[in-house]
C-alpha cells in the first residue's frame, strides 16, 4: 500500500508540478492579486470603490481609456487592411524578391515599436529631417506628436504582424477548395469573396484581437511620441510614479481595468472565433500566379513601398548612428563618435541587455519545457492549473506587470527590487506564454507511444523524458526561444519601471537618451539592437529552414 502511494504521489513529475505551482504563485499570482486588492482600498486600507468611481467620473482618467480604445481600433483596422492585402499579394503572385521581403517583414515585426516612435520624431517631428526638407517648399506636415504618431507607429509595426500570420493562413488553403469554386462557375472575384477570404476570416479575426491587445499594452510608443495624449499604460505609469506623489489605488484600478479589457477580448476570441477555425487537409498548397513585365512590377510595388515605410525607422536609426552630433542636432559628417560615447557611457547597459535576456531565455526554455509537458501529459494532475497560471501574463500589459513587481518585491519576505534578479524574473514570466504555446504544439504532435516505446525497451520514464521527449521538443522550442530572446532584448515596458541605475538596459537607455534629446547615442544603441535582431533572425531561419520554417 505504501509502495503504491509512493508510486502514485511522489514521482518526479508530481514534484515538478508542485515546484511550478509554487513558482507561478510567488512570481505571478501574488503580485497581480496584490495590485488588484490595492485597487479596492482607500488611503486607510479599507475596502472602497472610490478609485473606480474617480476613474469613470474624472475626464483626466477615463479619457485615457477612450484614447487607448480609439488608437487600438484605428491601428487594428489599418494594420489588418494593409497586412491582409499584402499577405494575399505575396502568397499568390510571383512578387519580386519575395524571400527578402518576407525577412524584412519579420525584421519589422521583431523591432520594438518605440524605436519607430523615436525615429519618426527624428524624421517628422519638430526640426525633423523631412519636416525641415519640406518647410522651404511651403509644405507643412501634420504634427507627428500625439495620436497621429502613435497610430502611424502601431499601424506600421502591427501590419507586419498581420502579414506574417495571415500569409500562413493563405498558404494553408487547399487549392482544391478554390478549384471547386472555379469548377462550379464562380468568377475570380466571387471566388475571392466567397471562398478564399471567408476561409481565412477566423485567422484574420484572431490576429486582429491579438493586434488590438498589443496596441493597448504598448507603453514605449505613447510615452515617447504621445506627448499629452495619454493612453492606459502611460496613465498607470503616471499614477504610480505620479507627479502628485503617486496613487497606488488608482494605479491598481487602471491596471485592473486594462487587464479586464484584455481578458474580455480573449474570451470573445475563445467564444466566437477560435471555435470557427476550419481544419483543412492541406494536400496541395495554392498555386502562385506567374505575372510578367509591368503586371509583376505592379504587384511588387505596394509591398516594397510598405516595407520601406515600415523599416524606415530602422534605416533612420542606422544612418543617423553614423552621423556626428552637433549638440542635439545631427550634422552631415560621418563618424563613429556616437558609438564611442555610447560604449563608454552605456557599455554596461549593452552587457546587461544581453546577459539578462540570455539568462531569462535559459529559464524560459527550462520552465517552458516542464510546464508544457505537465500541461499536455499530466492534465488532470495539476497540469491544467499550471498552464492556466502560466498564460496569465498574456493579458497583463508590461507597465502593469512592472508595477505589480515593484509592489510585491520591495518589502519582505522577498526584496529583489532594483536587482538584476527582478529584471530577469520579469522577462522570464512575461516571455513564458509564447514559448509554452509553441512547445505545447510540438508536444501535442508527438505521439505518446514514442515515450512508451523507450520505456518498454528498458529506459526509465525520467530518462526517457530527457533522451526522447525533451530532445524531440528542442527544435520547436529553440526557434520560439530565439524569438523570445529578441523580444527580451526589446523589452521596455516592464524594464522602465523595474530598472535601477545599476541594472539599466539598452531600451531603457534609449528612452533616457531620447527624453534628453540625445539622439546620437540613442541611434547607436538602436543600431546595435537592430543588428542583434537581424543576426538572431538569420539564425532562426537557418534553424527552421528544413521544417518549413517560421519565415
Amino acid at each position: 500500500m505504501l509502495r503504491k502511494l509512493r508510486h502514485r504521489y511522489l514521482n518526479f513529475w508530481t514534484i515538478v508540478t508542485l515546484c511550478l505551482i509554487v513558482f507561478f504563485v510567488v512570481a505571478l499570482i501574488l503580485p497581480v492579486a496584490q495590485l488588484f486588492l490595492n485597487s479596492f482600498k482607500d488611503a486607510e486600507g479599507a475596502f472602497s470603490l472610490e478609485s473606480y468611481k474617480t476613474f469613470f467620473t474624472k475626464k483626466y482618467y477615463y479619457q485615457a481609456l477612450q484614447h487607448s480604445l480609439w488608437i487600438g481600433v484605428v491601428s487594428t483596422l489599418v494594420s489588418t487592411g494593409i497586412g491582409v492585402f499584402l499577405a494575399y499579394i505575396v502568397t499568390r503572385y510571383n512578387v519580386w524578391g519575395k524571400n527578402v521581403l518576407k525577412v524584412l517583414f519579420l525584421v519589422g515585426l521583431m523591432s520594438p515599436p518605440f524605436i519607430g516612435a523615436y525615429s519618426w520624431i527624428i524624421l517628422l517631428g519638430r526640426g525633423g529631417f523631412i519636416t525641415n526638407l519640406l518647410k522651404p517648399i511651403g509644405i507643412k506636415m501634420p504634427p507627428i506628436y500625439g495620436k497621429t504618431g502613435i497610430i502611424l507607429v502601431f499601424s506600421l509595426h502591427l501590419s507586419c504582424y498581420v502579414f506574417r500570420y495571415v500569409s500562413a493562413a493563405f498558404k494553408g488553403i487547399d487549392s482544391s477548395l478554390e478549384e471547386a469554386s472555379e469548377n462550379l462557375g464562380a468568377s475570380k472575384f466571387m471566388r475571392l469573396f466567397t471562398v478564399t477570404l471567408p476561409v481565412v476570416i477566423p485567422t484574420i479575426t484572431s490576429v486582429m484581437i491579438i493586434v488590438f491587445m498589443r496596441s493597448l499594452a504598448d507603453f514605449g510608443t505613447p510615452l515617447l511620441i504621445g506627448e499629452g495624449y495619454k493612453t492606459m499604460p502611460v496613465m498607470v505609469y503616471n499614477a504610480y510614479l505620479g507627479d502628485m506623489g503617486g496613487n497606488k489605488a488608482m494605479a491598481g484600478t487602471i491596471s485592473a481595468i486594462s487587464v479586464f479589457l484584455s481578458i474580455g477580448l480573449l474570451l470573445v476570441q475563445k467564444a466566437y472565433i477560435a471555435r470557427k477555425n476550419y481544419r483543412m487537409s492541406n494536400l496541395r498548397p495554392p498555386k502562385v500566379i506567374e505575372l510578367h513585365g509591368w503586371k509583376r512590377f505592379l504587384v511588387t510595388l505596394p509591398v516594397v513601398i510598405w516595407v520601406f515605410i515600415a523599416l524606415l525607422p530602422q534605416l533612420t536609426v542606422i544612418v543617423t548612428s553614423f552621423l556626428k552630433m552637433n549638440g542635439p542636432m545631427f550634422s552631415d559628417q560621418f563618424s563613429f563618435s556616437n558609438y564611442q560615447i555610447a560604449f563608454k557611457s552605456c557599455g554596461k547597459a549593452i552587457l546587461h541587455t544581453f546577459t539578462y535576456s540570455t539568462i531569462a531565455i535559459v529559464f524560459v526554455i527550462l520552465i517552458g519545457t516542464f510546464t508544457s509537458y505537465v500541461s499536455v501529459r499530466r492534465r488532470k494532475q495539476g497540469g491544467t492549473l499550471v498552464d492556466t497560471m502560466a498564460m496569465l501574463p498574456m493579458v497583463i500589459p508590461g507597465a502593469v506587470f512592472g508595477i505589480c513587481y515593484i509592489m510585491a518585491f520591495n518589502k519582505p519576505p522577498i526584496v529583489i527590487c532594483g536587482t538584476a534578479i527582478v529584471m530577469v524574473l520579469a522577462l522570464v514570466v512575461r516571455r513564458l506564454p509564447n514559448t509554452i504555446r509553441s512547445s505545447v504544439g510540438v508536444l501535442e504532435s508527438l505521439d505518446p507511444s514514442l515515450d512508451e516505446a523507450s520505456i518498454s525497451l528498458g529506459v526509465p520514464a525520467l530518462k526517457t523524458f530527457f533522451v526522447i521527449t525533451a530532445r524531440l521538443m528542442v527544435p520547436g522550442i529553440a526557434a520560439g526561444a530565439v524569438l523570445s530572446w529578441i523580444s527580451s532584448i526589446n523589452e521596455i515596458s516592464s524594464s522602465l519601471l523595474l530598472y535601477a541605475p545599476k541594472t539599466v538596459t539598452m531600451p531603457v537607455a534609449i528612452y533616457t537618451f531620447v527624453s534628453q534629446n540625445d539622439y546620437g547615442q540613442a541611434a547607436a544603441m538602436g543600431t546595435i539592437m537592430t543588428v542583434a535582431i537581424v543576426i538572431a533572425l538569420t539564425v532562426v531561419s537557418r534553424m527552421t529552414r528544413k521544417s518549413g520554417g517560421i519565415i
Binding site: D447, G458, R471
Partner: protein, 357 residues
C-alpha cells in the same frame, strides 16, 4: 528466454466503466496469441496492462509464474511494437534498433553485430544509416519490429502493427512476422480488429467484447465452432435462421425445425428444447434439389467463387458462396432450394450460447 503469461481475473477501471472485466487467459511459452475484437472491446487496454502502461485495478498478471503487477514498464523485459510504429525520429535506423541494447548496458562493439543481424532478419540492413523520415510506412514498421525483438525480450507485444499499411503490404508483413516469431520462439501477444489477419497469423485467438473474453481457441475452432452468436457473426459471415428444437432423439440428436421450411437432426452437446438461432456460413449452404426454398435476387462474381443474395419465403435475405461451379452464373429470379450438412451448423440458445457439438 521466452516466458509464459498468466492473466488471472484482471480488471481495468476507468471511473465506473470496466474496460477489462475479470479476464483470465493462459498464454503458453512461445505461443503466438492474438486478442481479437471490435474497437472498444478492451484488447488494447489489456495489452497495455501487460506492457505496464496501464495500471491493474484487480487480479494478477504473471510471467512464468512471477507476479508483475508492481514491476514498472521499463523492467518487464518486454518488446513492444506500436500501431503507429513509434520509431524515434531523431535517431537513425541503426540507433533505433540499438536503443534497447544500449539501455541494457551493452557496449557499442557488441551492439553492432546484433543490430545488423536484426536488420538483416527484417530485410532492411541497407537502411541502417537512414533517418526514419526518409522511410516508407512498411520500412518503419520493420524498424519497429527489429527494435522490439533485438533485445531478446521474454514477451513480444504488438498493438495493431499492420493497420496503417496497405492491403498487399499487410499480407507480406504478416507472413514475415509469423516466420520471425516461429524462428525466434518468442511468446507473442498480438492485438488486432482484423479477423482475417488473426486467423492467418495466430496459434490461438481470444475473441473479446465489452471487456470480456467471448472465446479462446485455435483459428479453425473459432471459425468452425463459434461458441456464441457474437463470435459467429464477428468471425467471417454467417446467415442466421430462427427455429425450434422440439424433441431429442437417441445419441443426443435434436430435431431442428427451421422456420424457413425444413427439419433436420443435429448433434447436440446438451439436451435443450425450445427456440434456437442457427448460424450457417455462406459456403456451407449448397444449391440442391430440395431443402430451404429461396429466390436468387442478386449475384456477384468474385473470381474464385460467386456470391448469391437470396430471398427466403418470409422475406429474409441470406448469402450463399458457391465455389467450383464452372458453368454460367445462376439467373436472378430463379427459384432454388438450399441444403446443408447438419454437422457444419452451429445452434444457439436464446442466450446466445452454443448447444450444437
Amino acid at each position: 528466454m521466452s516466458q509464459s503469461v498468466s492473466i488471472k481475473n484482471v480488471v481495468k477501471l476507468y471511473g465506473d466503466f470496466r474496460a477489462v472485466d475479470n479476464v483470465s487467459l493462459d498464454i503458453r511459452k512461445g505461443e503466438f496469441f492474438t486478442l481479437l475484437g471490435p474497437s472498444g472491446c478492451g484488447k488494447t487496454t489489456l495489452l497495455r496492462m501487460i506492457a505496464g502502461f496501464n495500471t491493474i485495478e484487480d487480479g494478477e498478471i504473471s510471467f512464468d509464474g512471477k507476479r508483475i503487477n508492481e514491476i514498472p514498464a521499463n523492467k518487464r523485459d518486454i518488446g513492444m511494437v506500436f500501431q503507429n510504429y513509434a520509431v524515434f525520429p531523431h535517431m537513425t535506423v541503426g540507433e533505433n534498433v540499438g536503443y534497447g541494447l544500449k539501455a541494457r548496458g551493452i557496449r557499442k562493439a557488441d551492439r553492432s553485430p546484433k543490430v545488423k543481424q536484426a536488420l538483416e532478419q527484417v530485410q532492411i540492413l541497407d537502411l541502417m544509416d537512414r533517418m526514419p523520415n526518409a522511410l516508407s510506412g512498411g520500412q518503419q514498421q520493420r524498424v519497429a519490429l527489429a527494435r522490439a525483438f533485438v533485445i531478446e525480450p521474454s514477451i513480444l507485444l504488438m498493438d495493431e502493427p499492420l493497420s496503417n499499411l496497405d492491403a498487399k503490404l499487410r499480407v507480406q508483413m504478416r507472413d514475415m512476422i509469423r516466420k520471425l516469431q516461429t524462428a525466434l520462439g518468442i511468446t507473442t501477444i498480438y492485438v488486432t480488429h482484423d479477423q482475417e489477419e488473426a486467423l492467418a497469423i495466430s496459434d490461438r485467438i481470444a475473441v473479446m467484447k465489452n471487456g470480456h473474453v467471448m472465446q479462446v481457441g485455435r483459428p479453425d475452432e473459432i471459425y468452425r465452432k463459434p461458441e456464441n452468436l457474437f463470435v459467429a457473426n464477428f468471425i467471417g459471415n454467417s446467415n442466421q435462421f430462427e427455429g425450434t428444437i422440439d424433441e431429442i432423439t437417441a445419441g443426443n440428436t435434436g430435431t431442428l425445425k427451421l422456420n424457413a421450411g425444413i427439419t433436420v437432426g443435429v448433434p447436440l452437446r446438451e439436451s435443450y428444447k425450445g427456440a434456437v438461432t442457427v448460424a450457417i456460413r455462406p459456403e456451407y449452404l449448397k444449391f440442391d434439389e430440395s431443402g430451404i426454398p429461396a429466390v436468387i435476387r442478386h449475384s456477384t462474381f468474385l473470381g474464385d467463387f460467386v456470391l448469391y443474395e437470396l430471398e427466403l419465403a418470409d422475406g429474409q435475405m441470406i448469402f450463399v458462396n458457391e465455389y467450383g461451379n464452372m458453368g454460367a452464373l445462376r439467373e436472378v429470379g430463379t427459384h432454388v432450394h438450399l441444403s446443408f450438412v447438419p454437422e457444419y451448423v452451429s445452434v444457439y440458445k436464446e442466450t446466445g450460447e452454443v448447444i450444437s457439438c
